[in-house]
């Protein structure tokens, strides 16, 4: 595929991710912070997010599997995930976190378990999509082009 096509594809894909609510304006903010001096900035931050989220999701699974559910601990984990997803613009993940925290407050175990499932789903969805986006980006850079940003 030639450069122009790759760049259009990238833009279209970014737009669709925004339109479907997977990403929000904060992601665009991060893209704007990337330049020749820091060409991997977004990748770096998102990789940290992936690492952090997977640890948190594991911890949440463990916590909800216990005989006595520690809601305070669970809330702390979800709060952290809410913060990091918000910081990278992972909009849908953030929204599930908000709902999750409400259920923690209500100490509703079943609802929390349901939220965790949803959280895992949304996380893996956004992870896949971001990986696709980064692959497209790599192809553009390899073809000698620059990454187009959404207006």
């Amino acid at each position: 595929m030639e450069l122009g096509q790759l760049q259009r594809r990238f833009l279209e894909y970014t737009r669709s991710l925004h339109a479907d609510g997977f990403l929000d304006d904060q992601f665009s903010q991060l893209q704007q912070l990337q330049d020749e001096s820091n060409p991997d900035f977004v990748l770096e931050v998102v990789s940290l997010f992936f690492e952090d989220s997977e640890k948190l999701l594991n911890a949440l699974s463990l916590a909800l599997d216990q005989q006595t559910v520690d809601f305070k601990r669970i809330d702390a984990h979800v709060h952290q995930l809410k913060g990091s997803s918000s910081s990278i613009g992972a909009h849908r993940v953030k929204n599930v976190c908000i709902a999750f925290r409400n259920f923690c407050e209500q100490q509703n175990v079943e609802a929390c378990r349901g939220c965790l499932q949803q959280l895992k789903q949304e996380y893996y969805l956004v992870k896949t999509k971001l990986e696709t986006l980064f692959r497209l980006e790599q192809q553009i850079v390899a073809a000698g082009g620059s990454i187009p940003l959404m207006e």
């Binding site: 904060q26 903010q29 991060l30 704007q32 912070l33 820091n38 900035f41 770096e44 931050v45 940290l48 997010f49 952090d52 709060h79 952290q80 809410k82 913060g83 990091s84 918000s86 910081s87 990278i88 613009g89």
Partner: protein, 216 residues
């Protein structure tokens, strides 16, 4: 706290202004200390600040921040202050151990560092929390996620504030020189130790206090 004697040990100011201001044409970069337990947020805030031409130091906790500033009782604060010259502290509110609010209090309790503006960042827009922080002396409360426009605005606001204070001091000094019958005093570099304690400000960066070398 032997503040006034430590001043004279560090370096002798060549003129009165050096005791109390940093001239606005100071070649030193605007230095921000960012405190956040989230590595993601630290990475983002660091980038935001660097893009805004700031020098950045990031730490992961309030305790580390105090260590960096030399406020943990283990380092000599005067030795650290000169080399560091932190112009702004941005701290997350919710952190394990010491919260941003507790860090804010410790900084405001310190005579050396209380003049440094402190900004609190939080993902939660809780009004009583915001009020409490502002009451304790926080410059501003920013709701996360932090954007580039937040950092730009903040930096401009603080630099402008320092410029205005510096200009104010220049104007007042000129007035003193003009009014004072003992005008020769203003030209001599005063040794901080020699001045009566009532007119030595608590910190070199002190904005609201200034000396009166002679009363009218």
């Amino acid at each position: 706290m032997t503040g006034s004697c430590e001043l004279s040990r560090r370096h002798l100011p060549t003129n009165v202004e050096d005791l109390f201001t940093r001239p606005s044409s100071d070649p030193q970069q605007f230095h921000v200390l960012a405190v956040d337990d989230s590595v993601i947020d630290r990475t983002v805030i660091e980038r935001l600040l660097k893009i805004s031409s700031c020098k950045v130091t990031t730490v992961e906790s309030g305790t580390r921040a105090l260590q960096f500033l030399g406020l943990d009782g283990k380092t000599s604060s005067s030795a650290v202050f000169d080399d560091l010259k932190v112009n702004l502290i941005m701290t997350d509110y919710s952190m394990p151990g010491m919260t941003g609010y507790e860090l804010l209090k410790k900084i405001k309790e310190s005579s050396t560092f209380r003049e440094i503006p402190v900004v609190i960042m939080s993902s939660e827009n809780i009004l009583p929390r915001i009020d409490r922080c502002l009451e304790e002396g926080a410059e501003e409360f920013i709701v996360k996620p932090v954007k580039l426009s937040d950092v730009t605005r903040l930096k401009d606001f603080i630099i402008k504030g320092r410029k205005e204070e510096s200009n104010e001091r220049m104007i007042k000094k000129r007035r003193i020189q003009h009014n004072c019958s003992c005008s020769s005093l203003a030209k001599k570099p005063p040794l901080a130790c020699d001045l009566p304690s009532s007119i030595v400000p608590s910190s070199p960066a002190s904005s609201s206090k200034r000396p009166r070398f002679c009363e009218k």
